[in-house]
């Protein structure tokens, strides 16, 4: 059995609304193993993005716990390990507009104190098919290319798990398919776990495990 790289138990989250607190996640449990790809589907407002943010430590749960596996340190809460154990791929890429493709990838490594990473960043950009676009700014790249940069950026720190939030949401169908194919290929190749939030049934079907978030609870599709 592959080792556990992400473990969430009893996650709860609610948001304020005019009618009082609105529970979005009631008691979410999730275990992700190394190399596994999981898709999470759900209707708009079902809490998919919130769940992903809780898993990645960008939000604090009202109840429950999240742990990211780190071989040397055991299970560690993700907030302490932002950038180390988790890689993010956002729907709207979230690249730094003033930095080139290469600099955007390098930044993710430098920000957690790693140096001498330019070679690896070049390698990753090569891997996602942007070897000839290293010095291009995000404004000079297409949406699909920006998302490829974001995937390279998510991989630079060799995370245990990549959390992808609608990575094809801003792309046309063809580009979306290409990006999704690439994402699945590179995580499989590097034995990186993937948690993919998507509306698309087609993309969700490509994951090794498919889940649905409804009523604040995760269940198998």
């Amino acid at each position: 059995m592959p080792k556990v790289v992400l473990q969430a138990t009893g996650l709860k989250k609610s948001f304020a609304s005019p009618n009082g607190p609105l529970a979005v996640l009631r008691a979410v449990d999730l275990v992700v193993h190394a190399g596994e790809s999981i898709s999470i589907r759900g209707s708009s407002g079902s809490g998919k993005t919130t769940l992903l943010q809780l898993l990645g430590g960008l939000e604090t749960p009202e109840g429950g716990e999240v742990f990211i596996n780190q071989v040397e340190q055991g299970l560690v809460t993700p907030r302490k390990l932002l950038g180390h154990g988790v890689g993010f791929v956002f729907q709207n890429y979230q690249l730094m507009p003033e930095l080139t493709a290469l600099e955007n990838v390098v930044l993710a490594a430098k920000i957690i104190g790693r140096s001498q990473v330019e070679g690896k960043a070049r390698e990753l950009l090569q891997l996602v098919g942007l070897g000839d676009r290293l010095r291009h700014l995000p404004s000079q790249l297409s949406g699909g290319e920006c998302q490829r940069v974001a995937i390279a950026r998510a991989l630079i720190n060799e995370p245990a798990v990549i959390l992808a939030d609608e990575p094809t949401g801003n792309l046309d169908e063809t580009t979306g398919k290409e990006v999704m194919k690439l994402l699945l290929e590179v995580v499989a190749q590097r034995q990186t776990a993937l948690v993919l939030v998507t509306h698309s049934r087609e993309f969700a079907e490509k994951a090794s495990r498919r889940l649905v978030l409804a009523g604040g609870v995760l269940s198998s599709a």
Partner: protein
């Protein structure tokens, strides 16, 4: 850029005012010393045989020169115009007569027993110019008249007119030779006091105290004590101006704070992404704090440059102000300075730089702390 300019202008305003105020202070201190001496020796009654005292004082290594003087009020008159003159008897041959440089008409060297040098205010009161004659009535003559004698006033020709910048000197001063004063006041060989020039005028208080030791009946007054209230007023004025300029710099630093704050708001999304990538709180605090520090450093450098530029071209700037507001040459007319005086004090620059750097760094840290405290999910969502 605007923030740097704001800081630069604040620093320049602070330093220009401080440097010019220092200049005015220094110039006034110099005038006081030149008008009254670095140290004045007086006694309750006229000093008998001042030459002995002068010889002893001159032997002191701190004393450059010492000369006797006499002084007293008299009535000065020319035709229908009269005024109270404060007559000072001085040695016309003494080499260090600072009053020489304040002569605006005539010549100091023309001073002899039949001549007088007048302050410009007194000359105006009496409506006299160089070459005119005035009559001087000393108190001794009044005493003689009381006893039934009919003394004649001293008739003196005006050989020079001086303008020192001190109203009380310019409006009343009449300088005649010491010998002539003694004659008119029936003083014999006595003198009212001795003025000293010292090697280190800044140390006049200590030197005066030292010289005073063992000389009972004499009072050594350093120049700092002669016009103490006036010097205190200058110092107070400088402090108040520093306070006002401090507020200007504080206002400039608020503009930095608001600029950095809007920069942080504008970059909310990037801040969120940086946190999502693993940036720690101190990264963001450092990033924006350093930005504040950088603005402060560049603003201070610009401020120094502007200060130098403004002070270098101060005469032209003043001419422009005078021509725009039609005040004439105020510096010359009011202060009798040939140009705007300056005195650079390194401490003013150090204080201004330190203060600016601290304020701008703090102004940068406040929005940085706010940015660092935000949840990355909120930051990315709000952008």
């Amino acid at each position: 850029m605007v923030s740097i300019l704001g800081v630069g202008l604040g620093v320049a305003a602070l330093l220009v005012v401080q440097t010019v105020m220092n200049g005015f202070g220094e110039e006034h201190r110099l005038r006081i010393r030149e008008s009254f001496g670095d140290c004045v020796v007086i006694a309750k009654s006229p000093i008998e045989g001042p030459d002995v005292l002068i010889a002893r004082l001159k032997a002191d290594p701190e004393v450059i020169s010492a000369s006797a003087y006499t002084e007293g009020p008299a009535l000065a008159r020319r035709g229908a115009f009269s005024g109270v003159a404060f007559v000072r008897g001085t040695d016309p041959l003494a080499t260090d007569q600072p009053v020489r440089q304040y002569v605006v008409a005539g010549s100091f060297d023309g001073l002899d027993d039949g001549r007088v040098i007048l302050g410009i205010g007194l000359a105006r009161t009496l409506r006299v110019a160089v070459g005119d004659k005035i009559e001087v009535w000393s108190p001794v003559m009044a005493e003689q008249a009381e006893k039934g004698k009919a003394p004649l006033p001293a008739s003196l020709e005006v050989c020079a007119i001086v303008r020192t910048g001190f109203t009380e000197v310019d409006d009343r001063a009449a300088i005649i030779p010491l010998r002539r004063f003694r004659e008119l006041w029936s003083l014999g060989e006595r003198a009212h006091g001795v003025t000293l020039r010292l090697k280190d005028p800044a140390n006049a208080v200590a030197t005066a105290a030292r010289l005073n030791v063992g000389k009972a009946g004499l009072n050594f007054i350093p120049w700092q004590e002669i016009k103490k209230n006036f010097l205190e007023a200058i110092r107070f004025e400088k402090t108040m101006l520093f306070f006002l300029m401090f507020i200007i710099t504080l206002v400039a630093s608020f503009s930095i704070g608001s600029t950095l704050f809007s920069a942080v708001i504008r970059r909310t999304r990037e801040v969120g992404v940086l946190v999502a990538l693993g940036a720690q709180r101190w990264h963001l605090v450092g990033l924006f704090g350093v930005q504040g520090l950088l603005i402060g450093a560049l603003g201070t450098a610009l401020g120094f440059l502007l200060t130098w530029g403004i002070l270098y071209f101060r005469e032209g700037i003043l001419d422009l102000i005078n021509s725009l507001f039609g005040n004439g040459d105020m510096v010359a007319n009011v202060y009798q300075f040939s140009k705007v005086p300056l005195h650079y004090d390194a401490m003013d620059f150090v204080v201004a730089a330190a203060f600016t750097l601290i304020v701008t760094t703090v102004a940068g840290l406040v929005p940085a702390l706010w940015a660092a405290g935000r949840k990355p999910s909120e930051a990315m969502r709000d952008a």
